[in-house]
């Protein structure tokens, strides 16, 4: 089958279970395409040889009861993988090989999947264009010199470019949903506490969540079902009843009330985005659901609050990368000199910028004015959502204020870069689930996404809404294979 890599995860699983495809067939096909796709720079580390061995081994004694039987999968290089280099896109972890496995990836391998490789991302997941990676920027399969978004840029590029059937990313302020939106794929940020953070290189602990990225909603639901688990090793993991998200997936959303928040109509938003949102509202209605105008009055404070809380936590989380125990170490005259050189040479400019912001906002004398106030704003934003959810079942917004931009276009303007996260950040601050689905194209033919935000632990509901809308939208991603010679 020459079109293996075009198949969805659901199709691949079915074909392996029906023995129409072997794990080796599938793994070979994705390795082959990945090898032809070097120009995308989606991988930091490939695991192709070992993956093929594992696929062969799987085929010798296939366990077809598993949810991901012999399915190859590449993952964002923020997940620690046992005995396989894990860099977080940073020079400072350039040589770091964990002796342990993250809970989320462990869950994936336990269901029969096979690691293809580690995918590029912004350094320590700090970025919205994958341009901060020490391993170079990632090309979008949509167009040459277009950013795939970030920080899960390698993940988005790999799924959209069919280098992996599905993948997992992490989302601290939009790092799954924004790149999904830019590359015409589906990305889910689960409720905070749904997926364990154990073994994921931390960016901002109170915001970080792992989540699935896929070609379609059903694949997304299946992968989410695999990765979401209660984990006592993560004190913020929550023990709630998890659904069989893929099995319980339905396109029947009749009678659901979907909120349309007026505050998301931001100044300077391109008409194309406005039109997309209107179309989305129509799709909702076509599905038999109803839309309700709502207000989330504190939305405009979300971005500033986020850019205080996230750097604050990051400045502390990244203190452990000091050259003492593992990772990159620069030579220094003494301990302080070694610290300074290691961290100056080991961290890129964006990471250093955020460490400095974070250190500043936590400093005595500034703590109350910044960090404490940001935490209060965070509470207000959460209250906004709580109020809204008294009236509606979910909320529909655009995923991003624009389509993908060119590589280099915003690298010298961090604030404009940060504005990319304006619609996604409030969801992280409130700890809610949000999904981005591809919903159309702009005039340049670049994908545009819509975001559905749910109540806490209500992933099934937003997956169902996304599933129903997906059917109506009937989006076709325009992948020209421009990078394959």
């Amino acid at each position: 089958m020459s079109d293996i890599t075009k198949q969805s995860l659901t199709e691949l699983v079915e074909n392996v279970k029906n023995k129409k495809l072997s794990s080796t067939d599938v793994t070979k096909a994705f390795i082959d395409r990945s090898e032809k796709s070097e120009e995308l720079n989606a991988y930091i580390t490939n695991n192709f040889t070992s993956a093929l061995d594992k696929a062969k081994k799987f085929d010798q004694k296939p366990n077809l009861d598993l949810k991901l039987p012999g399915i190859p999968m590449a993952v964002k290089d923020l997940f620690c993988t046992k005995n396989i280099k894990t860099t977080a896109g940073s020079k400072i972890l350039n040589n770091f090989v964990p002796t342990y496995e993250s809970t989320v990836t462990e869950n994936i391998w336990n269901e029969g999947a096979i690691l293809l490789g580690k995918l590029n991302c912004d350094e320590f997941a700090m970025g919205s264009s994958n341009e901060t990676s020490f391993f170079g920027n990632v090309q979008s399969p949509i167009d040459k010199n277009l950013v795939p978004g970030g920080s899960s840029g390698g993940s988005a590029s790999a799924v959209a470019g069919q280098l992996t059937p599905v993948t997992i990313g992490t989302d601290t302020g939009g790092s799954i949903r924004q790149p999904a939106s830019f590359t015409g794929i589906v990305g889910l940020k689960p409720t905070y506490g749904s997926c364990s953070r154990y073994g994921i290189v931390a960016f901002a602990s109170s915001l970080d969540q792992a989540g699935p990225m896929a070609q379609n909603v059903k694949d997304c639901a299946l992968l989410h079902e695999v990765i979401s688990s209660y984990d006592p090793k993560d004190s913020t993991s929550i023990d709630f009843k998890r659904n069989h998200y893929s099995k319980e997936l339905t396109n029947n959303i009749k009678g659901k009330k979907i909120g349309i928040p007026k505050e998301y109509r931001v100044d300077g938003m391109p008409k194309e985005i406005e039109d997309l949102w209107k179309k989305g509202i129509q799709y909702i209605k076509d599905c038999g659901a109803e839309t309700v105008d709502i207000s989330l009055p504190n939305t405009s404070y979300a971005l500033p609050a986020y850019y205080i809380v996230a750097p604050a936590e990051a400045s502390s989380n990244l203190a452990r990368y000091d050259g003492v125990k593992y990772g990159f170490r620069a030579k220094g005259k003494n301990l302080i000199d070694m610290y300074e050189k290691t961290r100056s040479e080991g961290f890129g400019a964006e990471v250093q910028r955020r460490i400095m912001i974070g250190t500043y906002v936590l400093s005595s004398g500034y703590y109350d004015a910044y960090y404490l106030k940001a935490q209060k704003v965070r509470k207000l934003i959460k209250n906004d959502f709580d109020e809204a959810y008294k009236k509606v079942d979910a909320i529909l917004t655009p995923s991003t204020p624009s389509s993908a931009f060119k590589i280099g276009e915003k690298t010298n303007d961090p604030v404009s870069m940060y504005l990319n996260d304006i619609f996604t950040v409030p969801v992280n601050l409130a700890g809610l689930p949000g999904i981005s689905i591809p919903a159309g194209h702009d005039s340049k033919g670049y994908p545009l996404g819509l975001q559905i935000i749910g109540k806490a632990f209500d992933e099934q509901n937003i997956l169902n809404i996304a599933y129903a809308m997906e059917e109506k939208i009937n989006f076709k991603n325009k992948i020209t294979d421009w990078w394959i010679k």
Partner: protein, 491 residues
């Protein structure tokens, strides 16, 4: 310096100064595993053999609170008569050091697990109450070893992540003596509770000492200096004496005292400036986002309260009432939990016709001296409480004299032998048969006729000579009381 009426004052020309001391005691929680990881906490293990991925702060590793350590902290809080906070928060204290793998210490800043409490000190001139400001849980750091290599520093992370309780007193202490009694009292309470072994040699108990001085009678506090990480009571006392005098000298010279952190140099017996207030670290405390606020229920606390053993203050009261001991005696017996256990076991084994005063005298006298000379703790005593009780009973019922008992006790110390057997085997039983003693005395008098006459003529001192001779003739076994009585009759 003068200690009039036990008041510790520093005298200069016309001025008298009072010393104000507050302590931040770091007590290692007695626990098999660390505060946020499952690594072991044994003292003296090979370097870096008790280190988990969490302790070494590997990427993606997360802390998970050890419930046992929480219970230990709450129990200690109860022992300090303190308020237990049902909601407390773990914060990160951020600073860089080679033996701090995370780049931050997880501690409790604004919301500690234990709030205000108090401790009663028994001072020679009466009781003194010392206020407790708070107790919070925190992680210990690793250990930097600078003297193994001329170029490199070695780091041992065995201690990294070990649970500590920081117990902060109010500035209620006024002298090195009070500090001595306070530390001992804290240690005693924690050892009773089993929450800290109090072993200062192993670093299980150490303190930061805050010292300031003020003119006697003044209500305002002077500027304080903090002496970091002092690890013995003696050093604390020396550091306070030095530091208080240094501050007084500055005031007398018309200079001001800078608020600063100082080190105590044990070799030179002086404190030295470590860093000034301006150079103080900005620790950038903020709530640790990897940990939820720690919430404990009323029921949880109540269950721990039911688990609290009799503590030194209550035990002392009971000893005084039940055993009619003096406050002084009771204090000695309760100050160490093992001593109190030993004593109570001796009392139990002595049975009905017991002489508690005698037992107390022997414990605080012979036993303490013997243990001291052998460098043993009472828990390692070569004489079991049971055999000790038998020995006391042998004295009490007249089987042996106090003097013989000392000989028996010496034999017991060399191996836990039954004193009854020693007495039988060595024939040390006291001679209490009046007829036998009479015969013995008759013999002595007849062979010392001249001396007997001299005695009768008034040389009363010679009585002692006859007692000595009788004792000698009996091999020290004759009942001294009987010898006295019979001699008086016969002479």
């Amino acid at each position: 310096m003068s200690k009039k009426n036990s008041e510790y004052l520093i005298n200069r020309k016309d001025n008298q100064y009072e010393v104000v001391i507050g302590l931040e005691v770091h007590a290692q929680v007695l626990s098999e595993s660390k505060l946020f990881s499952t690594s072991a906490t044994k003292f003296g293990a090979e370097p870096n053999t008790q280190v988990s991925l969490v302790d070494a702060a590997f990427p993606g590793m997360l802390p998970v609170i050890n419930e046992f350590c929480v219970k230990q902290a709450i129990k200690t809080g109860i022992g300090l008569n303190a308020r237990i906070n049902k909601r407390s928060v773990f914060d990160r204290k951020n600073y860089f050091y080679a033996d701090l793998p995370q780049g931050y210490q997880i501690s409790q800043f604004k919301n500690p697990i234990v709030g205000e409490g108090k401790v009663i000190l028994d001072m020679p001139n009466g009781q003194k109450e010392v206020g407790i400001e708070r107790l919070h849980l925190e992680q210990d750091a690793g250990k930097s070893i600078h003297d193994l290599d001329p170029q490199n520093t070695f780091v041992d992370l065995n201690r990294s992540g070990v649970a500590l309780m920081e117990i902060v007193s109010k500035p209620d202490l006024r002298s090195p003596d009070e500090v001595n009694v306070y530390i001992k009292k804290l240690r005693s309470i924690m050892r009773y509770l089993g929450t800290c072994d109090g072993n200062m040699q192993e670093g299980s108990l150490r303190a930061d000492v805050n010292v300031s001085v003020r003119p006697k009678g003044s209500k305002e506090f002077g500027t304080r200096c903090e002496i970091k990480n002092v690890n013995s009571i003696k050093f604390m006392q020396m550091a306070i004496e030095y530091e208080a005098n240094r501050q007084v000298n500055l005031i007398e010279e018309g200079k001001t005292i800078d608020q600063e952190t100082r080190l105590f140099d044990t070799k030179k017996n002086e404190t030295r400036s470590m860093r000034s207030k301006e150079d103080a670290h900005d620790y950038r405390y903020f709530p640790d986002p990897d940990l939820l606020p720690l919430e404990v229920s009323e029921k949880f606390i109540e269950e721990l309260k039911n688990d609290i053993p009799e503590l030194p203050d209550d035990k002392k009261k009971r000893f005084i009432e039940e055993f009619k001991l003096s406050s002084y005696e009771a204090n000695i017996l309760v100050s160490d939990i093992d001593t109190s256990k030993y004593f109570e076991e001796v009392v139990a084994k002595m049975g009905k016709n017991k002489d508690i005063k005698l037992a107390v005298n022997w414990i605080t006298g012979e036993l303490f001296a013997a243990l001291n000379s052998k460098g043993l703790e009472i828990s390692q005593s070569p004489v079991s409480a049971k055999n000790f009780a038998i020995l006391i009973n042998l004295i009490k019922n007249g089987t042996i004299s106090g003097k013989i008992a000392k000989t028996v006790f010496e034999l017991m110390i060399d191996g836990d032998k039954d004193p009854q057997k020693i007495v039988e085997e060595k024939g040390l039983k006291q001679q209490s048969d009046p007829k036998a003693i009479e015969a013995l005395i008759d013999k002595i008098i007849s062979s010392n006729r001249e001396k007997a006459i001299e005695y009768k003529q008034g040389k009363e001192k010679l009585f002692g000579f006859f007692v000595g001779q009788a004792m000698k003739a009996s091999g020290g076994k004759a009942n001294p009381q009987l010898i006295n009585e019979i001699l008086k009759k016969k002479l």
